[in-house]
């Protein structure tokens, strides 16, 4: 779900992705995942291409996209930060973390910071329940995140990190 490697919408690429996957049984979710992985979201233009390939109506494809929290129809910020809202993290202080994150970034859930750097999303459980509060940035999960740790992580997202080690 890391978005920094995503590329701009390109119908030929999308069609190639669709053609590769369309004969799988129950191909719609694999196709939507592949499209979103490539372009960071599922653009409106993709819906028609998918519908045509799978012999579905656009409404049916749209219905599936809108059902699942994971799929998005608008381009997110460069980084997607997900905060776990589930009970195990609540027991370790995630409500305070949520409030801090929203205030620090100046956005609510499902919104993107003005500089288009970070999109904030809720998530219900990352499976890191003994060491919460947990957040996910791209495919990386972070444990024991308090306000200070959150600020450090966000600071690190402002510039592309150079790995020294």
């Amino acid at each position: 779900m890391t978005t920094s490697k995503a590329v701009a919408w390109e119908p030929v690429t999308a069609q190639a992705i669709i053609d590769e996957l369309k004969s799988k049984p129950g191909a719609l979710l694999p196709i939507l995942h592949a499209i979103q992985d490539r372009f960071s979201y599922v653009p409106e233009e993709a819906v028609s291409l998918i519908a045509q390939a799978l012999k579905l109506t656009r409404a049916e494809v749209h219905g599936v996209i809108s059902f699942y929290h994971h799929f998005r129809t608008h381009q997110p910020g460069r980084h997607v930060v997900e905060i776990c809202r589930a009970e195990a993290c609540q027991a370790q202080g995630s409500r305070a973390l949520e409030a801090h994150a929203k205030a620090a970034l100046g956005v609510d859930y499902h919104q993107t910071t003005a500089d288009r750097n970070i999109t904030l999303e809720p998530v219900y459980c990352l499976g890191n329940c003994s060491c919460g509060p947990s957040i996910r940035v791209g495919n990386d999960i972070h444990a024991d995140v308090d306000a200070t740790r959150f600020d450090e992580l966000v600071e690190g997202l402002k510039t592309d990190r150079v790995e020294i080690l």
């Binding site: 599936v64 994971h70 027991a91 990352l126 444990a143």
Partner: protein, 524 residues
């Protein structure tokens, strides 16, 4: 001489910095000219000591943890690679740590010992022995063994696995195609045992599903894994690829002529897809709307064909049963809960992690003798067992033995074995509100009690929390809970009331307290 060092690689160990520790050890070892081989194991599941660095010695593995970046120099100064040395983080022999030693790791026997995607490691530790035995048996004999083991659905519903398999074995498939579907949509907060299977011992799931395929005559399997588990998907895919290369999957399994194909499918952030019929809809590429039952998925399942839908832990228990024997599994447990359950101790807990035990000990033993009480030292007040649809238990219920029937007698569920602990700062009316709010977010929308009831539930609890007509609204909330319980199509709407009702019943003061303070505020 090369010293072998193990650094864990599961999500929680990584989230606590294990990748960086692994790299630092390699770099510093090179600087000190010490010949070390850093291997990545899964995790032992003892999360408060992660990252747990282990060192191979003739006497066994010595552990150091939790290792932070700043500890590396002192570990090298202490010559930690020798194992039995003095250091503030030295834990001695890992297998002697009481938390681990006191467990009965049937399913998780290899956890943290092997490299997750190493087939060699898996086979060197009893891997694929169950499949080798199963191949020599008839389908009926495999099903009988699973019945005899007493294994019940570990996803939470606790339906006897062997009976489900028998149904699928007996029914004719119109298209001559049956399926094994693994429910790896582990959405319950406080649970991570499925994740541990997939991240740390993926071949075990492959083996269990292949045996299930042999048992019912299915040639295609799907693992439906949630998108929140990227590392599970990565490790499963790598293990599946290796299994195909070694004739452990495909057209000629272990040269027996048996056929079984396996594919991982990714969910898309919908909790409801953990409900088996919703999961099947999702696999078919549709909205995850719950199906009415009957027909059972065992008879009309994926793409309309007979389908075994089992939780990860149910399928992961099968290799043990086929290797060590059904009796070995059934010999432990309590009442009708046979075998072991990998409990997950989470939330505000001092020693959180995976605790695989035979059914029978009490919740208290799990939370205090293993968990060590709360992480911040405050008194424990409420415990939610069995995920977001499980009841909150108060102190008077913590002596309940861990067993399916024992819990249902207390109007609670054991579910997937997740235990989430809350200290005395918890506001139970807020927790009740969250249960309803979660149902609003995650209801598939098919039936009214769940779709509308949850929204009304949030509103009523908000009024109670604001102190408005508390008595009348408490009655209304009780009534709403009954409607959802009786009128919902599946467990989502049908069990969302459990945490709400338990909070209302056992923590009434949190509902009334808010009312009183609201009145006082008005008077002032």
């Amino acid at each position: 001489m090369t010293f072998r060092i193990h650094v864990p690689s599961d999500t929680t160990a990584k989230a606590r910095g294990a990748d960086r520790i692994a790299r630092l050890i390699e770099i510093v070892a090179k600087e000190h000219k010490i010949d070390v081989e850093v291997r990545r194991n899964g995790t032992r599941g003892l999360y408060w000591i992660e990252p747990l660095v282990e060192v191979d010695t003739d006497a066994g593995r010595y552990g150091f943890g939790p290792v932070k970046e700043g500890d590396i120099e002192s570990l090298f100064a202490a010559e930690f690679w020798k194992g039995d040395v003095e250091h503030a983080l030295a834990l001695g022999l890992v297998e002697e740590i009481p938390y681990l030693k006191r467990q009965e790791r049937f399913t998780f026997a290899r956890l943290g010992i092997t490299n997750p995607v190493s087939l060699e490691d898996y086979q060197a530790n009893d891997g694929f022995k169950g499949l080798q035995n199963a191949i020599k048996l008839s389908s009926q004999q495999i099903v009988d063994a699973v019945k005899e083991s007493g294994l019940r659905g570990r996803g939470g519903a606790a339906f006897p696995t062997g009976i489900k398999w028998q149904t699928v074995l007996d029914v004719e498939s119109p298209k001559n195609q049956k399926y094994i579907v693994c429910n790896a949509d582990e959405g319950d907060s406080g649970t991570f045992a499925d994740r541990l299977v997939m991240e740390c011992d993926p071949y075990m799931l492959i083996e269990g599903m292949t045996i299930a395929g042999l048992a019912v005559g299915a040639t295609q399997g799907y693992i439906y894994c949630r998108s929140e588990y990227p590392l599970s998907i990565e490790n499963l895919n790598q293990a599946i690829k290796t299994a195909y290369e070694n004739n452990l999957l495909g057209a000629d399994i272990l040269g027996s002529g048996n056929h079984f194909d396996l594919e991982v499918r990714m969910g898309a952030g919908a909790y409801i897809c953990g409900e088996e019929t919703s999961l099947l809809e999702s696999l078919e590429g549709k909205r995850g709307l719950v199906r009415a039952k009957p027909p059972l998925p065992a008879i009309v399942g994926l793409f309309g064909q007979p389908t075994v839908v089992n939780n990860v832990l149910s399928l992961a228990a099968v290799p043990f049963i086929m290797d060590k024997g059904a009796k070995a599994y059934a010999d432990v447990g309590v009442g009708r809960s046979r075998g072991t359950l990998p409990f997950q101790v989470a939330g505000n807990v001092k020693f959180g992690g995976l605790v695989e035990l035979a059914f029978g000990p009490t919740l208290n033993e799990l939370m205090f003798e293993f968990g060590g009480g709360t992480r911040n030292g405050r008194p424990l007040r409420a415990v939610q067992v069995g995920g977001p649809l499980g009841a909150y238990l108060h102190e008077g219920q913590w002596d309940t033995p861990l067993g399916y029937e024992e819990f249902s007698q207390k109007d609670a569920v054991l579910g997937h074995g997740g235990v989430v602990m809350f200290d005395d700062t918890v506001d139970m009316s807020e927790q009740a509100r969250f249960s309803m709010e979660f149902c609003v977010a995650e209801s598939c929308g098919k039936c009214t009690p769940c779709r509308i009831g949850s929204t009304r539930g949030v509103e009523v609890i908000d009024r109670i929390r604001e102190g408005k007509n508390v008595d009348a609204n408490m009655e209304l909330l009780s009534d709403l809970c009954e409607t959802m319980l009786d009128g919902s199509l599946c467990a989502m709407g049908g069990m969302t009331p459990f945490p709400v009702q338990s909070a209302m019943k056992h923590f009434t003061e949190d509902f009334v307290k808010n009312a009183a303070s609201a009145t006082q505020a008005k008077e002032v």
